[in-house]
């Protein structure tokens, strides 16, 4: 008994057993799915893991506080800047009271009494942390002569009206705090590089570190719900006109992206199901098979997800896009099989016989179609990206299941008593076209060849080039409040671009300090040579136990009693009020106490209050683990090209210091060749593989050549269309090419297999071309529905696939068929 007969018999005579088996399989899959479901929302996992720049981004995201930082901005009308000035402290106070806010930075800490007090509190540890020569120079200021000269000069300057002298005396009367805080001053570019107010004063920026325990999707959603509730009342106390309250930051993005993914799943699945349903019903006039098709696809998705979870343990949320892709691909099989079944019924075959005929005639084509598609997607494992590997494996598993289920379970939903439609206008129209194109293939073949060749030349010509969008914008939702807020803030603030992150980890504090000093020296040379614009490092903030020990010993040589006496006499002589200089006496006391060899080595991190705004600066450089640090290099131009990446990778490293260079722009520039390799090499390799497979299948060089030319036409017309409509490639939609090749191969296999075996050409070929047409339209609808996705990578993938499938369909119908008729005219004469 043939397999097709066996299947027909089982699905018609043992329906209960089949249902039982299907239910059992579905329950097992559901149990696996529910018990093991674990989703990874990190978009970074969609990119290849082997790049150290990407590893750096992951480390930065995971270990540094900045990822928990939210940026708030208030934007008012130009005539209300004074009101905004008044309102800013009120808003900052509201922010500080929020349960999710750990720290708030509302302005330069140097402008607040708390900020100055905090700095003074860490002056001693920072002073001891200076390099010995710098410490020696600084501490020499307490010599009696220098003290007298300093206060005399300040007295004269104050009399002359110098605001600087007055400020210096209030902040740092002895002149020891300034040099000690120089590291902070050098590192503190918050006001210079990231001002907290726009130059026209219409925008005020506030930085908030949230207390969320992680930056997981659900945690970010929870925090952002609270933040949005706060924003709804954030204008309380504002007495002016319109006031925009903007929020952006990692948590805002993650919350939006994860929520948009939920929307994408619902919208694209509903969209594709509705569109596919309409096309299917228009083609066959039946609902039950449609239901069967949906059920089979759902079961395929479930089985693929269950197996995927067993294989990978955790699935990336972006791979949910595979559901829509699977629907688009699996529908083809259903339409082909059911179309052939219906044709057999029209030919007066019985229900079981028609099932057997459909499987017999098209089962092989479906199997090979599924196999080539599965292999095509399995090639994604070569991408090196765990997300894409998962996507490839899930689709490969899903498509094989879909092929199997469409040849079996689908028929559970096809009732025996249901007569075939009497008048099928689509079939009639297709039949007429087939008759015409087979009888006189030359005109349509020439016309199609001319048009498709033109598009091929245009598609592969270097000019105009197909744009490649490697920006972060291509990975974030199209309509994103966080992105809009960031854009609004950027447009109001001075022009700047993302720096290169340089991550350094050391085994101990001294090594960390030594490493950063070497790096700083090297980068200073690069800056002088004009190879980089600016840089900032934690070099001076990294503690040096060696320097601290050395400087402490030096302190023991100082007669602090004598210094106090000189200070007293000098203040009195110059007419200063001693009461106003209590901080100077306290500093001398502190220095004397740390000079004690039994006292523990002071650490400024322990002295700085947890609520201090200065932690915003510290957290820029130090991870939760203080031995893990990051420095920043601003390139001369925004990083957009691989050449810039290469230049920076060559210049920035210091041979003896292990470091990771990273940053979004830097990483994307690093990934550009990978994406292009994905596009060219892997797609070409896949095309070669498919070509070999087709050669084995057809065993006819003419049909094989027709199939290959069809594929080339389809891909190049796709490229040409993307050029014409200025649709850029990005890191994700390059996947479309292999998908389009897989589908194009399927269509070719269906038509050319049918052509090889056809006896009544008009009847047999039309019986395949109609389902191919419907399958193409449903695949178009399936991928087209991805346009509804908020995630631009997913929607651009959908658009690219839809364009590719359209051209493959056109090439299959208007080139493959007449070409086969022209190449193998014997078949026609046999009829």
């Amino acid at each position: 008994m043939r397999i097709s007969d066996l299947i027909a018999r089982i699905v018609t005579q043992r329906r209960a057993y089949v249902w039982l088996g299907v239910s059992a399989g579905a329950i097992v899959c559901l149990i696996i799915f529910v018990s093991r479901i674990s989703l990874d929302s990190d978009v970074l996992n969609m990119l290849p893991d082997k790049f150290s720049s990407l590893q750096g981004l992951k480390i930065y995201d995971r270990a540094f506080e900045q990822t928990r930082e939210l940026t708030f901005a208030l934007h008012c009308q130009p005539d209300e800047v004074d009101k905004l000035e008044e309102f800013a402290p009120i808003f900052a106070e509201h922010l500080r009271k929020q349960p999710w806010a750990e720290r708030v930075l509302a302005g330069s800490p140097m402008q607040t009494p708390d900020g100055i007090r905090d700095l003074q509190s860490i002056a001693v540890p920072l002073l001891l942390n200076l390099n010995p020569p710098a410490f020696e120079e600084t501490i020499s200021i307490v010599q009696p002569e220098k003290l007298r000269e300093r206060f005399h000069r300040f007295r004269e300057q104050i009399e002359a009206g110098s605001p600087r002298a007055q400020f210096e005396l209030e902040f740092d009367p002895l002149g020891l705090i300034g040099p000690a805080l120089k590291p902070f001053a050098e590192s503190n570019r918050i006001e210079e590089e990231q001002p907290l107010a726009s130059s026209d004063r219409t925008m005020r920026v506030f930085l908030v570190v949230t207390n969320q325990p992680s930056i997981s999707a659900f945690e970010c959603q929870r925090v952002m719900r609270q933040v949005n509730a706060f924003c709804a009342h954030a204008r309380d106390g504002w007495e002016g006109g319109p006031l925009d309250v903007l929020v952006t930051g990692r948590s805002a993005y993650v919350a939006e992206i994860s929520l948009s993914m939920r929307h994408d799943i619902i919208a694209t699945v509903i969209g594709s199901v509705v569109l596919v349903g309409i096309i299917f019903f228009a083609g066959f006039g039946r609902w039950m098979p449609l239901l069967g098709m949906g059920f089979s696809l759902l079961l395929s998705c479930l089985a693929a997800l269950a197996l995927g979870l067993l294989i990978f343990g955790r699935l990336n949320m972006v791979t949910v896009g595979f559901c829509a892709i699977l629907v688009g691909l699996g529908v083809d099989f259903a339409i082909l099989i059911f179309g052939r079944y219906q044709q057999a019924r029209t030919d007066s075959e019985s229900h079981p016989q028609a099932i057997s005929t459909a499987i017999q005639k098209l089962g092989r084509a479906v199997f090979f179609g599924a196999l080539t598609t599965a292999v095509g997607f399995l090639a994604l494992i070569l991408s090196g990206s765990i997300g894409f590997s998962q996507l490839g494996v899930l689709i490969a598993i899903g498509i094989l299941f879909a092929g199997l289920f469409m040849c079996t379970i689908l028929f559970l939903f096809v009732r025996e008593g249901q007569p075939p439609a009497r008048h099928d206008w689509i079939f009639e129209a297709v039949k007429k076209y087939v008759a015409w194109s087979v009888r006189r293939p030359a005109p349509i073949l020439i016309l199609a060849t001319v048009i498709l060749s033109g598009l091929t030349v245009f598609g592969f010509s270097p000019k105009p080039p197909l744009p490649f969008d490697a920006s972060t914008r291509s990975l974030q939702p199209k309509k994103s409040r966080a992105a809009d807020a960031l854009a609004a803030i950027m447009s109001n603030m001075p022009l700047r671009w993302e720096p290169v992150l340089v991550i350094v980890r050391a085994p101990d504090m001294q090594r960390l300090r030594d490493d950063w000093e070497k790096i700083s020296a090297h980068w200073s040379e690069l800056q002088v040579a004009g190879k980089i614009k600016t840089f900032s490092t934690p070099a001076a903030l990294a503690s040096s136990p060696r320097s601290i020990q050395h400087n402490r010993e030096r302190l023991r040589a100082i007669d602090f009693q004598g210094v106090r006496r000189t200070l007293n006499e000098t203040l009195d002589a110059e007419g200063f009020s001693s009461d106003s200089f209590s901080s100077a006496y306290k500093l001398l006391d502190d220095l004397q106490s740390v000079a004690d060899p039994n006292a523990p080595l002071p650490n400024w991190r322990d002295k700085l209050p947890k609520s201090s705004s200065w932690w915003f600066l510290v957290d820029r450089y130090f991870a939760q683990d203080p031995l893990l640090t990051v420095g920043f290099v601003t390139s001369n131009e925004p990083i957009k090209t691989h050449a810039q990446y290469v230049a920076l990778s060559r210049e920035l490293p210091v041979p003896t210091v292990p470091m990771i260079l990273s940053g979004w722009s830097y990483t994307l520039a690093n990934l550009l060749p990978w994406a292009q390799r994905q596009l060219l090499i892997v797609t070409s390799a896949m095309a070669v593989f498919e070509g070999l497979l087709l050669a084995v299948l057809y065993r006819d060089w003419r049909l094989w050549a027709i199939q290959e030319i069809t594929l080339i036409f389809g891909i190049s017309a796709m490229l040409a269309t993307m050029k014409l409509f200025n649709l850029p490639l990005n890191l994700l939609n390059v996947l479309a090419f292999r998908l389009v090749i897989a589908i194009g191969v399927d269509y070719g296999i269906y038509v050319l297999f049918a052509w090889q075996k056809a006896r009544a050409i008009e009847h047999d070929i039309a019986g395949v071309v109609k389902p191919v047409l419907l399958a193409g339209l449903t695949a178009l609808a399936g991928f087209g529905s991805l346009v509804l996705a908020k995630n631009p990578s997913l929607s651009s993938l959908g658009v690219a696939c839809a364009i590719g499938i359209f051209w493959n369909l056109v090439a299959t119908i208007f080139f493959t068929l007449p070409a086969a008729a022209a190449a193998r005219p014997k078949a026609w004469r046999e009829e």
């Binding site: 402290p89 004269e156 104050i158 107010a197 009020s577």
Partner: protein, 237 residues
């Protein structure tokens, strides 16, 4: 006469003298307190606007000044004197004479403070949220009352032939510069005395004399540090 009686009589006369003296003092006090009441007249909002408009029409462009600064860092007040030139809306020049001379020049974008004794100068950029913006604004406000309605809450009283204005800052930036500014306007509607109380308790009292409103050459508000001057930018560029 009984000495006791004599003593009582003397006491009574003393008491009478004392009563008389007290009554004179009280009368004098009464007059003293009534007199200002009779001369002091709070101005309505409309009158304040009118007054400000009239003062602006009669802006002074130069004056001599004497300044007394009470700074908590110093035991004694610092006294300076000199000359000031002004051009609306925000240019001014201020020359301090004496033992600690200085020259302050603002062209609206930059503020220079030059100390001839030290051959050093400080340069501050204005208008970019500089902390000095509000200080400059307060100086300008005192001299020409430009735009004061928007930045200050103003109360004014008529005293004798002149006016007393009390300016309380509305904006946070101004509040950081000073708590209160009292301004005395003379009968010619010219600033005569300013008294600025700063948030840290420091106080600056300036008395203006010899006020004029003659044209001032534009070059008055230009400043180029002499060669060899040590220039610093305390608030950055």
């Amino acid at each position: 006469m009984n000495p006791i009686i004599q003593q009582v009589g003397r006491d009574q006369s003393l008491l009478a003298v004392a009563r008389a003296r007290r009554s004179i003092c009280l009368t004098a006090l009464l007059f003293l307190s009534i007199a200002p009441l009779a001369n002091t007249e709070a101005l309505s909002e409309a009158d304040v606007k009118n007054l400000l408009a009239r003062i602006r029409e009669n802006r002074i462009t130069q004056a001599d000044f004497q300044e007394q600064r009470v700074i908590r860092l110093m035991k004694k007040p610092i006294v300076n004197s000199g000359k000031v030139w002004f051009q609306p809306p925000n240019k001014f020049r201020r020359e301090v004479k004496g033992n600690s001379p200085s020259l302050t020049v603002s062209d609206g974008q930059q503020l220079w403070i030059y100390y001839p004794s030290f051959k050093s100068a400080e340069r501050y950029s204005l208008g970019k949220r500089s902390p000095l913006d509000s200080v400059i604004a307060s100086i300008n406000s005192a001299l020409n009352l430009e735009n004061v309605e928007n930045t200050f809450k103003i109360t004014a009283t008529r005293t004798g032939n002149g006016y007393e204005l009390e300016l309380t800052p509305r904006t946070a930036a101004m509040k950081r510069a000073f708590q209160k500014l009292d301004l005395r306007i003379n009968d010619k509607l010219q600033a005569e005395r300013t008294d600025m109380l700063q948030p840290n308790g420091d106080r600056i009292v300036t008395v203006y004399t010899n006020q004029k409103h003659a044209p001032v050459p534009p070059s008055t508000f230009d400043f180029t540090p002499p060669p060899g001057t040590d220039v610093s930018t305390p608030l950055g560029r």
